[in-house]
């Protein structure tokens, strides 16, 4: 035992510390202090991760370590725990190892940027999130990382925030991812509803209780999450746009680590996927389709980073194809080799962009090999590796996946993969020839300033080039029985071997034929590119105009972005506008109308008050007034007037009396009156 399992928490703790330091006081530190903190922390993580790997090799049994109870929700209890097993160990090595190289490369690439500390803070935060994603011992801790990497991806794509396009790309990435996450969350709800727990250990050990239908529902939901995160059809559109971020970010997040989270998640849940044949078929078909689809787009792009982006989408498709045919170890194997050569390709492309003063259009490059010899060398190594030419890394992992697809009984998928492999080789060497060979097509000014990148950027590339050269042999030879297969065996288990493959365990003739075909298409792709872009550069234009329709379809990426805009984005916005107007007119309208009615009521009552109530009062008042005016005249204060009035009054009263009452009445009245006293 090198270290106890609890010490694995140090792996994310180092970069987290760096986040706090650089995030809080980074703007006051020198570039050197910032970079030492950031890069050093990932280096320390790498050391601890290596020690953990050694330990896991010695004892591959899964170990769970819990920090504390995160959510003690009665029925819903979630611990903050980590699961350390071979799969996690491999992922941690990729994240900290490749991550360390990319951090180191960034020292040079980001030199002089005003947001230097901010950049490394985000990059470290990403590393922390990604580590939590692969270390988590339950779905929810994984989800912390899952969302954390999404946020960091957003922040880093939009790192140069003055550029509106960068910010839009970041938002697009996050929102599209979030659509996938909705599926992932629903999968979580289903799992919790079924098992009452979110721990991997509980779920996987009781997976047998699931019906096929439930398992299918759960795994399809989870896979929707993977589609979003790993940029598969139909949610891949954010990844090419994500190239707006700094190039090391593209290398780390959008090639080596974050986008592979979906693959990791499927492999982690392979126990559930194995129970749902329909889900596995879906995974395989989507993987193969994505591999082929995005390879076709990659054929005709001119932006040096976008070619690599479509290539990444395509390679991720291979990994899902591997998962879908049950070759989980091969999926992780390809994940690892892809991390090597794609990080290498991106960062050497970054070195080119650096030298070209920010230019990314390959039509304005050419002949750079003599100016950037080191960059050109490592880039070509990367290209050979991804093209699948033995004995470089990509050949072993990709060939294995194609072989697994064929032997799984899916020749159509195998053929799609093989076609995509030919295209991969073609577009990679197209890129090599357009960038590093042929005539120089840039301005003199730019050409004059061409310079090889500093050593801090070149050394990481050399390490990655070495890994791309030898990684495949070291990890995965002999095919299907290499070190990585044996190491991952306890995780991926016997399910990875489909029925009927056990007897053909030894490498047979069919394997050699498949291998030969893989090499043949790779070489064919290379030679075609060489013919078109090196020997006769004018053919490219001729071909493009000859097949103008096809070229335009591919160049415009099948108009998928436009399609989504028209069918999803714009209708949503339209709905929003309707809701907005509804709120303004109807809801507020009703409220204001109620207000108005009340006020109208008030006006009415005011009127009533004014003209009726007051009116009556006033009429009474006026009447009094008039009466008083008249009566006032009478009250003159002179005795003879009063005396006269008295006489007139008596006269009137007597006459009235005589007028109204006859004698009988008087007698009656008098007798009534006398009754009181008399009786």
């Amino acid at each position: 035992m090198v270290i106890g399992v609890d010490f694995v928490w140090l792996i994310p703790a180092f970069p987290l510390l760096a986040v706090l330091i650089n995030g809080l006081v980074g703007h006051r530190l020198s570039e050197r202090a910032v970079s030492v903190t950031a890069v050093g922390s990932v280096g320390l993580s790498f050391l601890v991760a290596s020690a953990t790997l050694v330990q896991v090799i010695a004892d591959p049994a899964p170990a769970v370590t819990a920090l504390f109870t995160w959510i003690p929700g009665g029925d819903l209890v979630v611990e903050f725990n980590a699961l350390i097993d071979p799969l996690t160990a491999v992922m941690m090595m990729v994240i900290t190892g490749v991550g360390f190289l990319i951090h180191a490369y960034s020292i040079g690439y980001m030199h002089g940027d005003s947001g230097y500390a901010r950049y490394f803070t985000y990059l470290n935060l990403f590393t922390v999130s990604m580590l939590i994603l692969v270390m988590g011992g339950n779905y929810l801790v994984m989800f912390i990382g899952w969302e954390g990497v999404g946020l960091c991806s957003y922040l880093l794509i939009g790192f140069w925030y003055e550029r509106t396009s960068a910010i839009k790309a970041g938002t697009k990435a996050f929102v599209v991812n979030r659509i996938g996450d909705a599926g992932f969350l629903v999968g979580l709800f289903l799992i919790f509803a079924r098992f009452g727990s979110l721990n991997y250990s509980d779920v996987f050990s009781r997976a047998g209780e699931l019906s096929t239908a439930t398992a299918t529902a759960i795994t399809l939901c989870l896979f929707i999450g993977a589609i979003g995160k790993s940029a598969q059809l139909p949610l891949y559109t954010w990844l090419p746009d994500a190239m707006e971020g700094p190039t090391p970010v593209s290398a780390l997040i959008h090639a080596a680590t974050m986008v592979t989270a979906g693959v990791y998640m499927v492999v982690r849940n392979h126990v559930l996927f194995d129970m749902a044949p329909l889900s596995l078929q879906t995974v395989a078909v989507i993987g193969a389709a994505t591999a082929l689809f995005s390879a076709t787009i990659g054929l005709v792009q001119y932006d040096i980073k976008r070619v690599l982006a479509y290539s990444t989408v395509s390679q991720l498709g291979y990994m899902f194809l591997a998962c879908g045919v049950g070759a989980y170890a091969s999926a992780i194997f390809h994940l690892v080799t892809h991390a090597f050569f794609k990080a290498l390709l991106f960062m050497s492309a970054g070195s080119v962009i650096h030298a070209m003063g920010g230019e990314q259009d390959m039509r304005k490059m050419g002949g750079l090999a003599k100016h950037l010899p080191k960059t050109a060398t490592v880039f070509i190594i990367g290209a050979i590796a991804i093209a699948g030419i033995p004995p470089l890394a990509g050949f072993w992992s990709k060939d294995e996946i194609l072989g697994a697809a064929f032997k799984h009984g899916a020749p159509v998928l195998w053929f799609m993969g093989l076609t995509a492999a030919a295209m991969t080789s073609f577009y990679m060497f197209r890129q090599v020839y357009m960038t590093f060979y042929g005539s120089a097509r840039m301005d003199h000014d730019v050409e004059h300033h061409l310079h090889e990148s500093p050593n801090v950027m070149i050394y990481p590339l050399i390490v990655l080039a070495a890994l791309s050269l030898l990684g495949g042999l070291l990890l995965g030879f002999p095919p299907e029985e290499g070190w990585i297969h044996r190491f991952l065996g306890p995780v991926t288990g016997a399910q990875a071997v489909p029925a009927g493959r056990q007897e053909a365990h030894a490498i047979g003739a069919i394997d050699y034929i498949l291998m030969g075909l893989s090499v043949a298409v790779a070489l064919a792709g290379w030679m075609t590119a060489r013919q078109i872009y090196l020997k006769k550069p004018e053919t490219a234009g001729a071909l493009a105009s000859r097949f103008a329709t096809a070229h335009s379809v591919l160049y415009n990426k099948y108009w998928v972005d436009e399609l989504y805009d028209a069918t999803v984005v714009e209708p949503s916005k339209g709905l929003g506008r309707v809701a907005n107007r509804f709120d303004d007119r109807i809801i507020d309208g009703i409220v204001n109308a109620v207000g108005n009615l009340t006020q109208a009521g008030a006006a009415l009552s005011t009127g009533f008050e004014k003209y009726m109530i007051y009116g009556l009062l006033n009429i009474t008042g006026y009447a009094n007034h008039i009466a008083a005016a008249i009566l006032r005249k009478i009250q003159s204060g002179q005795v003879h007037h009063y005396a006269a009035l008295l006489v007139i009054g008596i006269f009137i009263l007597v006459n009235l009396y005589l007028w109204f009452f006859d004698n009988t009445t008087v007698a009656l009245l008098l007798s009534r009156l006398s009754l009181n006293g008399g009786n």
Binding site: I71, P72, L76, I144, L155, Y161, L185, N580, N592
Partner: protein, 525 residues
């Protein structure tokens, strides 16, 4: 001391108000110091409540009771349970931070702080009242300061001042006699709307008082021994629900809320969206759920439908607002839909989530409003299209804004995530369709908040705003840091909260489930 801790929490701000009356406006620092202390005392005491509430025992604790009128059956009866503690804590934190957020108010600062303290204290009063009379009393008391705060210290909305046509702008429209962009309109609308809701609830309260046969407003007694005739339960629950839901605000009763938020000064928006709106949910739980479990079960499915309108509709409308505060205002009414979803699911997990989410939302929306207010202070506009690129000038504010946005859409490791997750996990079994829509609604939140983020902080900077500066070290940063740290701390360690809330929620849910069983046995009646 601890016997009277609720009195201390409730009266500390009132004492502050009284002290403020004796301080002249010429001593601005003293005014603010008094306000800070009047906010700090309840905050510390509320944390004490959180950590000293005995969740094993449950029930109402820290109770204090003083007979106020024996003849009318009214007593001044205070007490908290797991449902009110988080809200008391949220109110105190927002009061404390709000005092700092309003630090730069110059115009009649003393009076402003006095009203702010009354607002917060009245809100706390609702949360700690166990007597329907005082619950209603404090409820009304919390609405009235809003009128003054909006009318005097508020600001006009939706580009009122930019409207060139002064004649038209100030035209005495038939509507409340104010232009509908003016702060006076907002103040009037808010006050009238909420008072109208309160009156509806008051009718129910009076009927309960008259028919329970107990001659008391005491909720505990009403719950234990009250016998309000069964046939009245439904109508009473609906009166209480819609009376209080107007402040919550549930769709379509939200009309007062965005304009009210937008017109209010930053600290008032914070308190308003942070804790005043939750008076609605809280009162529905405290009165409706507690006294009418059967009717709750019967009628909450209605809320489960309305809440989806709140979530989706609020989110869509938020996306199209130009005014930063309108975005946050609609976002708030959208997020209150999640609380209703949790309440409607009527199980322990989702109810716990709903209460926790109320606390979480208070902090997140508090940060958003504080930042919107700060940006408005600096740039004198809230119009998103005319802002931009401020991140270069105010990195700290932009950084906190990221935290606030992350909290708002429920990024894991913020307390919002825990609340949201518990709501959705709980509601999944009962309302799967609503749950899926609610999950997708989170994407909507993301879309409009990032749009706002892009519009305000990113993109090229207008040279117009060259003079703006970042938050000053202490006064401006402290409140934002307090809210951000609280949100993250309880996102990492929510267990104390969850224990406390569950102690309050479990008996309620048990009663509602019991009512269900009873009604199953007994048939319709």
């Amino acid at each position: 001391m601890t016997d009277h801790i609720l009195s201390i929490i409730l009266f500390a701000p009132f004492v502050g108000v009284v002290l403020l009356l004796f301080i002249p406006n010429e001593k601005p620092l003293l005014v603010r110091t008094v306000a800070v202390i009047a906010g700090l005392v309840p905050t510390l005491a509320s944390f004490y409540l959180l950590y000293h509430y005995d969740s094993a025992a449950g029930g109402y604790q820290f109770t204090e009771q003083y007979v106020w009128s024996k003849d009318l059956g009214i007593s001044f009866f205070l007490g908290v349970d797991g449902i009110s503690i988080p809200l008391v804590l949220a109110s105190s934190i927002l009061l404390f931070t709000g005092v700092f957020i309003s630090w730069h108010i110059e115009d009649r600062a003393k009076e402003f702080y006095a009203f702010l303290l009354i607002l917060a204290a009245a809100t706390i009063g609702v949360y700690v009242s166990l007597d329907l009379f005082f619950l209603y009393f404090f409820y009304e008391m919390s609405v009235l300061p809003m009128y003054v705060l909006l009318g005097i210290w508020g600001s006009h909305t939706k580009g009122y001042l930019e409207m060139a046509d002064k004649q038209k702008r100030d035209s005495v429209g038939f509507i409340f006699n104010f232009g509908s962009n003016s702060k006076e309109y907002a103040a009037m609308k808010l006050t009238l709307f909420l008072s109208a809701g309160a009156v509806v609830a008051l009718i129910a309260i009076l009927i309960i008082y008259a028919t329970s046969g107990l001659h008391t407003f005491n909720i505990v007694e009403l719950q234990a021994h009250g016998h309000v005739p069964k046939h009245l339960h439904d109508i009473l629950f609906l009166l209480i629900f819609f009376g209080f839901a107007s402040i919550a605000p549930i769709w379509p009763l939200h009309s007062w809320s965005p304009v009210g938020h937008a017109a209010a000064p930053a600290a008032v928006s914070m308190l308003h969206a942070g804790v005043l709106m939750k008076l609605g949910h809280f009162s529905i739980i405290r009165v409706g759920y507690t006294l009418f479990p059967e009717a709750t079960r019967e009628w909450m499915p209605l809320a489960a439908i309305l809440c989806i309108f709140s979530i989706v509709y609020g989110g869509l409308v938020a996306y199209f607002q130009r005014d930063t505060k309108y975005v946050i205002g609609y976002s708030s009414s959208s997020h209150m839909g999640y609380v209703f979803l949790g309440m409607a699911s009527l199980n322990v997990i989702s109810m716990t989530g709903a209460v926790l989410y109320m606390f979480a939302h208070a902090l997140a929306t508090g940060m958003l409003f504080a930042i919107a207010g700060y940006v408005y202070d600096q740039t004198h506009t809230r119009d998103i299209p005319s802002l931009g690129g401020l991140s270069a000038k105010m990195p700290f504010i932009a950084g906190i804004f990221i935290v606030a946005v992350a909290a708002s859409f429920g990024l894991p490791l913020t307390v919002n995530f825990i609340g949201e997750l518990m709501i959705l996990v709980g509601s999944w079994n009962i309302y799967p369709v609503q749950t899926i829509i609610a999950v997708l609604g989170i994407g909507l939140t993301l879309a409009y908040l990032f749009r706002m983020m892009r519009g305000v902080f990113y993109g090229p900077m207008d040279p117009h705003y060259a003079h703006v500066h970042d938050a000053s070290p202490f006064v401006d940063r402290l409140p934002l840091l307090v809210m951000a740290a609280t949100s993250i701390y309880f996102g990492l360690f929510p267990s104390q909260f969850i224990h406390v809330i569950q102690a309050g929620v479990t008996p309620l849910i048990a009663a509602i489930e019991g009512a269900q069983q009873l009604s199953q046995i007994g048939g319709p009646f």
